[in-house]
């Protein structure tokens, strides 16, 4: 008997190799470029703690650039995989990590804290210093968790994924409306502080916060990986998946929990970062031409990390001394890129299917 015609594997090693190299390069650039340019050799010295390293550069690399780059990697991977889960589970190419209202919940939390801080006397976020940063993270986490809990409660009750999707959207609108009302009554500084938060940034995570971010991201990614077989079955739709013995309820719980954990954590620490979650899974599908989640989950994580680091590099406008809002960069650079890819290949709907 002839050997089974196993699916093509040619693309895999090359694709992963290219993505890995790209990530390494972007990581090196992240450490080297910024408001001041630090040569790579000096970066290595600073990291290794060799004698003779410039103490100032050592500070910059160790205290600012390294956590920033790590945050970009974690956030990019987390948002990408979270979006992939949502797109597959809801069988909707437009789904993203925030489709269940997570970012709206986080925004609401942050808006409430900032406005409250205004009433308590502290005028701006800056005046709150480190404590302010922490309280923003806490507020975003509480907001995201609140929405997440409501969504999970609803997810346990509804049978239909589409209902869940629509409810998530409506939660988002409701939270957005409350934020709107709050900003109406806030003063200029408070509003500005809030708007700055919505720009998104990978720079706000300190070393003391890093373990929490890393743990949550690792847990969410592992959970997604554990779901890969079920996500593959979901490609045929919920009815087929159920007929093959998959527990739709359990998988729904797993998908909502892990994608919300990933998206909620990243939003809490970095603000609502748009685009990565929706576009990176499509990029990974186009690159690897597969729907198999055993390939797509690592591919999306790597692509997400790469895209996040590149966006962060551009946002810092090396050499110009100004920074751009991260969200603006992800969208402005990312949208044309993905549009070009899609128009060139005409294959997005094919690789995703509708």
């Amino acid at each position: 008997m002839s050997l089974p015609a196993a699916p093509k594997k040619r693309r895999l090693p090359f694709g992963f190799l290219a993505l890995g190299l790209g990530c390494l390069l972007a990581f090196a650039l992240e450490l080297s470029l910024g408001s001041v340019r630090i040569p790579l050799a000096e970066v290595v010295k600073a990291l290794a703690g060799v004698d003779g390293a410039d103490p100032c550069w050592e500070q910059i690399v160790r205290l600012f650039r390294l956590p920033r780059a790590l945050t970009a990697i974690l956030a990019g991977a987390a948002l990408g995989v979270s979006g992939l889960e949502a797109q597959t589970f809801f069988r909707n190419p437009l789904a993203d990590p925030f489709v269940l209202g997570i970012s709206s919940g986080a925004s609401l939390g942050v808006a409430v804290v900032m406005m409250a801080a205004g009433f308590l006397g502290a005028t701006t976020l800056g005046a709150l210093g480190i404590g302010g940063n922490l309280s923003v993270v806490a507020a975003a986490a509480v907001g995201a968790t609140a929405v997440f809990s409501v969504v999970m409660l609803v997810a346990k009750r509804v049978r239909d994924n589409m209902t869940l999707l629509i409810l998530g959207l409506l939660f988002g609108y409701a939270a957005g409306a409350v934020v709107g009302i709050l900003t109406q009554f806030a003063d200029k500084d408070q509003t500005r502080g809030f708007i700055l938060w919505t720009f998104g940034s990978f720079g706000g995570v300190t070393w003391s916060q890093m373990p929490y971010l890393a743990t949550a991201c690792a847990a969410g990614l592992l959970c997604a990986l554990a779901l890969c077989k079920s996500l593959n079955a979901m490609l045929l739709g919920q009815d087929y998946a159920r007929s093959m013995g998959m527990s739709v309820k359990r998988v729904r719980f797993g998908v909502v929990a892990s994608s919300s954990l990933l998206a909620g954590t990243v939003t809490a620490y970095c603000g609502p970062i748009a685009f990565v979650g929706i576009a990176v899974p499509h990029l990974a599908r186009l690159l690897f031409k597969t729907s198999d989640h055993r390939t797509l989950i690592p591919a999306t994580a790597l692509s997400g990390a790469l895209v996040a680091m590149l966006a962060d590099l551009v946002a810092q406008m090396p050499g110009l001394g100004v920074t751009l809002p991260l969200n603006a960069v992800t969208c402005l650079l990312g949208a044309p890129l993905v549009i070009a890819l899609i128009l060139k290949r005409q294959r997005m709907m094919e690789t995703f299917a509708s």
């Binding site: 008997m1 490609l235 045929l236 739709g237 007929s243 093959m244 995703f352």
Partner: protein
């Protein structure tokens, strides 16, 4: 008595609307099927075919009564165990994205593989065998998106086979296919039941095909109990006719097909032979006339070209159709 793979006992099917309200679609269904048996479920639209298929497949809980798969009650079988005994192929078209037919069929191994879905040599062997049985072996490397509807349906059947079930349930598998593909698929299902000794239950609208291929027909009329029997039995005792007849259409027992009602008033004496007779009859039917012993006479040559209607001569089918339409008014 051989072991029954699928059996129902006083099964009531329908939907639970709310805690108090339940809509019973059909009550007291008692059917059974043997290994290697090809069963076609027939019935007019809205009779509850889909509801019965879903209930048998375990996707819809029975309102009361029981379904047994291999002698074990359906509700007591864990989903993964059930999936090893019973596979389902649905009407809806799947759109799984970039995926080869081989990978699609391999998804059928879901209940048999480990947490990450790794396929061992045995799994690969079963998938390959399933593709060959379904006539999809040469499609293995093709992308699912590039398939025609007929090829896609074969791939889905390969997936169902890869599940290695004892019972295969299919909900209207032929509905998107053209006529030759319908015949091909129905023959395929019959062959699968014979060669693999699986029970194949398939709901369909293609009455003619079902009557030719099925071992057993489950007939679900719009009203009255579900009837089971060999196709010939149900056709001969008039059950099929009663289930499907409308004021416009009759089931003709003599040829096993549906005929548009004949109205004796517009009869035409048809003189022709061979295929020309058959197609001239079709033409009469379309013009609202019928073949009878009296009325105006129509003579057609064997090439269906020259014709004589009463005293009028003419050439061509279009002209004949026009003349016949005039005759009717």
């Amino acid at each position: 008595m051989s072991q029954l793979t699928l059996r129902t006992e006083h099964l009531d099917i329908g939907h639970v609307r709310s805690r108090k309200e339940r809509r019973v679609v059909r009550a007291d269904i008692n059917v059974s099927a043997r290994p290697g048996e090809f069963v076609c479920l027939l019935g007019p639209n809205g009779a509850g075919k889909s509801t019965l298929i879903k209930t048998l497949a375990g996707a819809l809980p029975p309102l009361s009564g029981k379904v047994f798969v291999n002698g074990v009650e359906l509700g007591s079988i864990p989903p993964l165990e059930l999936a090893k005994r019973l596979s389902v192929t649905l009407t809806s078209r799947v759109a799984p994205g970039a995926m080869t037919v081989y990978a699609l069929a391999a998804l059928g191994r879901f209940p048999h593989t480990n947490w990450i879905g790794r396929l061992g040599p045995e799994d690969h062997r079963i998938v390959q065998e399933a593709l060959e049985l379904a006539g999809a072996a040469e499609l293995a490397a093709r992308d699912v998106n590039e398939l025609s509807d007929g090829e896609r349906q074969k791939a889905m059947i390969a997936r169902a086979l890869a599940q290695a079930p004892d019972v295969m349930i299919l909900d209207e598998p032929t509905s998107f296919l053209d006529m030759p593909r319908k015949v091909e698929l129905t023959r395929l299902l019959l062959r699968l039941a014979r060669d693999t000794n699986k029970t194949v239950v398939c709901s369909t609208h293609d009455l003619d095909l079902a009557l030719r291929a099925a071992d057993t027909i489950w007939l679900l009329p719009a009203e009255g109990p579900l009837l089971t029997g060999a196709p010939e039995t149900l056709a001969f005792d008039g059950s099929i006719g009663r289930a499907f007849n409308t004021p416009e259409v009759d089931f003709d027992q003599s040829c096993g097909e549906f005929q548009i009602h004949k109205s004796p008033r517009n009869g035409v004496r048809l003189m022709a032979s061979g295929p020309a007779k058959f197609w001239a009859g079709r033409l009469l039917e379309r013009a609202g006339l019928s073949v009878s012993e009296s009325g105006p006479s129509l003579e057609v040559d064997d090439a269906l070209r020259f014709w004589t209607l009463d005293a009028r001569r003419g050439e061509g089918v279009e002209a004949l159709h026009a003349a016949l339409s005039k005759l009717r008014s």
